[in-house]
């Protein structure tokens, strides 16, 4: 038996322990039995994982649904690599995984991917995802006031040191300074607001509420929300927190594209300048107000009030000051106060766990994840509350939140439905039960990184060059809507442009070509070359004389799909070999192309 096929057998086995737990609905789970699970005084990782399992298995019992079987180890490893580091695993990584004891290998892998050995790669992937979330894929592009590269670098550093989410939020919400690295007051966190300050910060308001509080207030900008509790005043009272702030445009000369410098200025109230404000009588409240328009055209006044109804005025009264509505920076820094409100809000933790759950499962507890509220009740309120409490008690530790979710039984389930849970398909409109793992499109970034990983196409490039190449590739699919919601879309969504890119693009051409480098012997005279050495994955498989053709095909399947080909697939591969007149290396190119274009490769499953 070849080494590769032994590996396959292991990868296709399921972890029976998880199966038993999932079906019987017991609270114990893999991580609960762990000896070395991270724990501290307040939150014990194993207990949280057990609580997730208990909550979900109870809900499955209540709905009379039997969950799918646990995913095979290979599929699970592929899934976890894609979610935690943004790419599929290499064959070596799969081999290291299955070399672990079956009982503990999943926890072993999560420890590794969230630990020191993958710290940079994990941070890099999280930074990529968060940058898309925070400034969009088009943020930092031609028409953007943001500069992407330093922003992603800033996020990478933050995720590498596992900076608590509340701290990260505070840095971005309160950031001032220039987004340009060459400026003395450079502050990469300022990129968050760079494109959001038009119209007195409408986008800053809407995005901050969505991202950090999980509430969609942008519709209430113009009117009370027709269905939810949102009121128009809420939007403008929240927006008032950004009224001291503006994005100045900085550039070196006329030809230079402008970039943002986020600055705070004294705000004297809408339409009032400094002199008008100074003219107010002593004793008169130094209140800097904003106005908004009702649908009937009447103007209403707004002062800073957080979404829970707490006003800055009251907060400052409690501190013994009557100037809470002032817009003078020496007295009140409104963004600092806003960040404090957000960090204290129960919505902060709730929205974070909802988003993270959605990131790992494809569906959060609400649809969409950033429109929470009484009008849109969560599918699993108790579970969400448990996770939110644990996340807060763990000081907003994103690594641990990831760990809890990926070690849960539900995350480890197969994507294949059983007889009882075929209808658990949220893409058809039902609320998710999480009795199976739902298929979802991989992002353009995940596909890119996976192609690179599977083909070793950019071995020679530095990380920065790789990042730039990836951004260039993914940007071609992104379109900005060009409205005041900073909306954007990607055509890398399973439609024809994606298929064309996977079939015919330069990236795939390189991935499916055989490459050789001429090796120059160190001591040899000029022109004296040793044998050619294979460059990249495909060539090295083709050139490996220890492998049979069947082994080679298996290797390709393993690298792309983390599974073994079945008999029918092997039969078609053999026909390809015949069609290539026995030239195995050429046939492997065909096999490799087909694998990279398959639904099984481009979907998370």
């Amino acid at each position: 038996m070849t080494h590769a096929s032994a590996l396959f057998r292991t990868l296709c086995q399921t972890v029976t322990l998880v199966a038993a737990v999932a079906v019987l609905g017991e609270a114990r789970c893999l991580a609960a039995t762990a000896q070395d699970a991270v724990s501290d005084a307040k939150v014990d990782d194993a207990q949280i994982v057990a609580a997730i399992n208990k909550s979900l298995s109870a809900s499955w019992r209540d709905s009379g649904v039997t969950p799918s079987k646990p995913a095979p180890d290979g599929a699970w490893a592929r899934r976890v690599y894609l979610d935690l580091v943004g790419r599929i695993p290499t064959i070596d990584e799969l081999e290291a995984f299955v070399a672990q004891a079956a009982k503990s290998r999943r926890r072993w892998l999560v420890d590794r991917l969230l630990g020191d050995s993958y710290r940079d790669e994990h941070a890099r992937w999280r930074a990529t995802e968060w940058a898309n979330l925070l400034i969009g894929r088009t943020g930092g592009g031609r028409n953007s006031l943001a500069v992407r590269e330093p922003f992603e670098k800033y996020l990478r550093v933050a995720f590498a040191e596992n900076r608590p989410l509340d701290q990260l939020m505070r840095e971005m919400v309160t950031a001032s300074g220039s987004v340009r690295p060459e400026d003395d007051d450079h502050n990469p966190a300022a990129n968050y607001l760079a494109d959001k300050m038009d119209e007195n910060g409408v986008q800053a308001t809407a995005k901050t509420a969505q991202l950090f509080l999980g509430v969609s207030v942008q519709c209430t900008q113009c009117h009370n929300h027709p269905f939810n509790e949102g009121r128009q005043n809420q939007f403008w009272e929240l927006a008032a927190f950004f009224r001291q702030t503006r994005a100045e445009r900085v550039r070196d000369d006329e030809d230079d594209r402008p970039k943002a410098r986020i600055v705070d200025r004294d705000f004297y109230g809408e339409g009032r300048d400094r002199m008008a404000a100074l003219a107010s009588l002593p004793g008169q409240a130094d209140a800097a107000e904003t106005y908004y328009e009702l649908r009937n055209g009447k103007l209403k006044v707004a002062y800073p009030v957080f979404i829970d109804g707490n006003s800055l005025h009251d907060v400052f009264l409690e501190r013994g000051h009557d100037y809470g509505d002032s817009g003078r920076l020496a007295l009140v820094n409104r963004r600092e106060e806003l960040a404090g409100f957000i960090a204290e809000s129960p919505d902060f933790a709730r929205s974070a766990v909802n988003r993270e759950w959605g990131r790992f499962f494809g569906y959060g507890f609400t649809r969409p994840v950033d429109d929470m509220g009484a009008h849109n009740p969560p599918s699993h309120p108790d579970l969400m509350a448990t996770l939110a409490t644990a996340f807060r008690d763990a000081d907003y530790d994103l690594l641990r939140l990831s760990r809890w979710i990926v070690l849960s039984d539900a995350y480890g389930l197969d994507s294949m439905a059983g007889r009882s849970n075929q209808d658990d398909e949220p893409s058809l409109g039902q609320p998710p039960l999480f009795t199976r793992f739902y298929l979802r499109q991989l992002s353009a970034e995940q596909i890119y990184e996976s192609l690179i990983t599977a083909t070793r196409a950019d071995e020679a490039l530095s990380d920065d060059r790789r990042d730039e190449a990836r951004r260039r590739w993914t940007r071609q699919f992104a379109t900005a809507f060009g409205n005041d919601e900073n909306g954007e879309a990607t055509s890398f969504n399973g439609s024809i442009p994606q298929s064309l890119a996977m079939m015919n693009s330069e990236l795939v051409r390189r991935a499916t070509e055989l490459g050789w480098v001429e090796m120059k012997k160190k001591s040899a005279a000029a022109g004296d070359y040793a044998e050619k050495k294979p460059a990249g994955f495909l060539s090295s498989i083709a050139a490996d004389r220890s492998l049979s053709n069947a082994d080679r095909v298996e290797k390709l399947y393993l690298a792309a799909l983390a599974r073994k080909p079945d008999r029918k697939e092997l039969a078609v591969c053999n026909q390809l070999l015949v069609a290539r007149k026995g030239n195995a290396a050429e046939a492997l190119r065909d096999v490799w192309w087909a694998l990279l274009n398959s639904n099984e490769f481009i979907l998370q499953h």
Partner: protein, 417 residues
């Protein structure tokens, strides 16, 4: 029923294609068979999508001499309506176009409004509705068997998606020059077919394993992709091959090129084309920016209408001009207008619809509709009826709910006189 597709599928052809002689392996509709016989027994629709929400009070429903009216003046047209002086060429074509001045919708947020106007449904967390283009592509399917390029093309913007109809009805998004990336296969046809045989095997295996609809939809998209790659009809995208005179007529602008491309696509039998013309989110400096935007609109839109007419295609092509909402009659402190959904205008014409009409009216300041109000559903029903689609069509959404085409809207009767 949307699920009962009649076309033969990629997988049917490919799965188990054990002996792949190239002949046994051709895709459902071959270039040779179809290219010559592109008979047009169906109508098409071109949606001119004014992304951002245009100030229709400055364009189609002018209020001269009123505080909300703005600086622009109305001019007479060949139809029974007056429109802005900045659209003199469109004014010549107004006998073919009607202005619906009684649009009254309730979504004044870009994302929600764009969804509502283009699907006929307000956003709902549990179901994603198909957009105009996807509905029409789906319903026209029996009539466009010879079409090898996608039935729904979106130029310059992403449009809305196919929702529960599935990715096979998603728009093909192209830029304003009509460029479709990566259409050239990496290997010759025979070898590609051989590769596709293995791909079909892998696809089929995964798709039949009860993992959800995404696995199977991918195969349909692959089929469309291969069909497009091999089709002569792709030359419809080659706007650069148009004579200089024709390109000049549409104007040297993104919108002009998009309109020209739309005409070429419709001519090739594509049943739905969306042209995205953005930049209407005029919260500030509305009138200076209108002075820049309206001439581009004027040139492209007028050329499209007159060109279609000259080619005898106007009666078979419904034209719709709309954004996600209009803008406030009140001019704000930044000389701009904000989002406003309660009273605004859309324009339709062609496809046998009555032209030259002004339908409905708004109050003196433009803030309310004073005639029978029309919704996004009504507008969509009007277009569907003009296209010859039955308004009794029901879709079964993926969650099992029956869903009326065009959200159950009622067509605007004046347009069908």
């Amino acid at each position: 029923m949307h699920s009962g597709m009649t076309r033969r599928h990629f997988l049917d052809h490919m799965a188990g294609a054990a002996a792949f002689g190239a002949a046994s392996f051709a895709l459902g509709r071959t270039v040779e068979a179809a290219a010559s016989q592109l008979s047009r027994d169906h109508k098409s629709c071109i949606l001119l999508w004014m992304s951002g929400g245009p100030p229709t009070i400055d364009i189609w429903d002018m209020k001269p001499g009123v505080a909300t009216g703005g600086p622009l003046r109305p001019i007479r047209t060949t139809g029974d309506v007056e429109i802005t002086e900045r659209l003199p060429l469109v004014a010549e074509q107004m006998k073919h176009l009607s202005v619906i001045r009684s649009m009254s919708t309730r979504e004044a947020d870009h994302t929600r409004g764009a969804y509502y106007l283009r699907t006929g449904y307000v956003p709902n967390p549990n179901v994603v509705h198909p957009s105009y283009g996807s509905v029409i592509a789906h319903e026209m399917e029996p009539k466009i068997a010879g079409l090898e390029i996608p039935p729904f093309v979106s130029i310059g913007g992403p449009s809305e998606g196919p929702g529960f109809l599935g990715m096979a009805y998603a728009p093909l998004q192209v830029d304003q020059s009509g460029r479709v990336r990566d259409v050239q296969a990496l290997v010759e046809k025979e070898r590609m077919d051989e590769r596709l045989a293995l791909l079909a095997e892998i696809e089929g295996r995964f798709a039949k394993e009860r993992r959800g609809p995404a696995a199977g939809e991918h195969a349909k998209v692959l089929e469309r992709t291969v069909s497009l790659m091999r089709s002569d009809q792709m030359k419809a995208f080659d706007v650069a091959s148009e004579p200089t005179k024709s390109r000049e007529r549409y104007g040297d602008s993104g919108f002009g090129r998009s309109c020209l491309l739309a005409r070429r696509l419709v001519e090739s039998g594509v049943p739905f084309v969306e042209v995205d013309f953005g930049g209407w989110d005029l919260h500030d400096d509305c009138f200076t920016r209108l002075d820049q935007k309206l001439p581009e609109l004027d040139r492209g839109m007028s050329a499209l209408v007159s060109d279609l007419e000259e080619r005898g295609l106007l009666d078979q092509t419904v034209i719709v001009w709309m954004g996600e909402f209009g803008r406030t009659p009140r001019i704000n402190g930044d000389a701009g207008r904000d989002h406003y959904a309660r009273a605004w205008s859309a324009v339709v014409g062609g496809g046998g619809l009555q032209g030259g009409l002004g339908i409905g009216e708004t109050s003196a300041d433009g803030s309310t509709v004073e005639s029978k109000p029309h919704s996004a559903e009504d507008l969509m029903a009007t277009v569907c009826q003009a296209m010859g689609l039955s308004l009794q069509t029901n879709f079964t959404s993926t969650n099992g709910r029956p869903m009326k085409i065009a959200g159950g809207g009622a067509p605007i009767s004046e347009l069908f006189a």
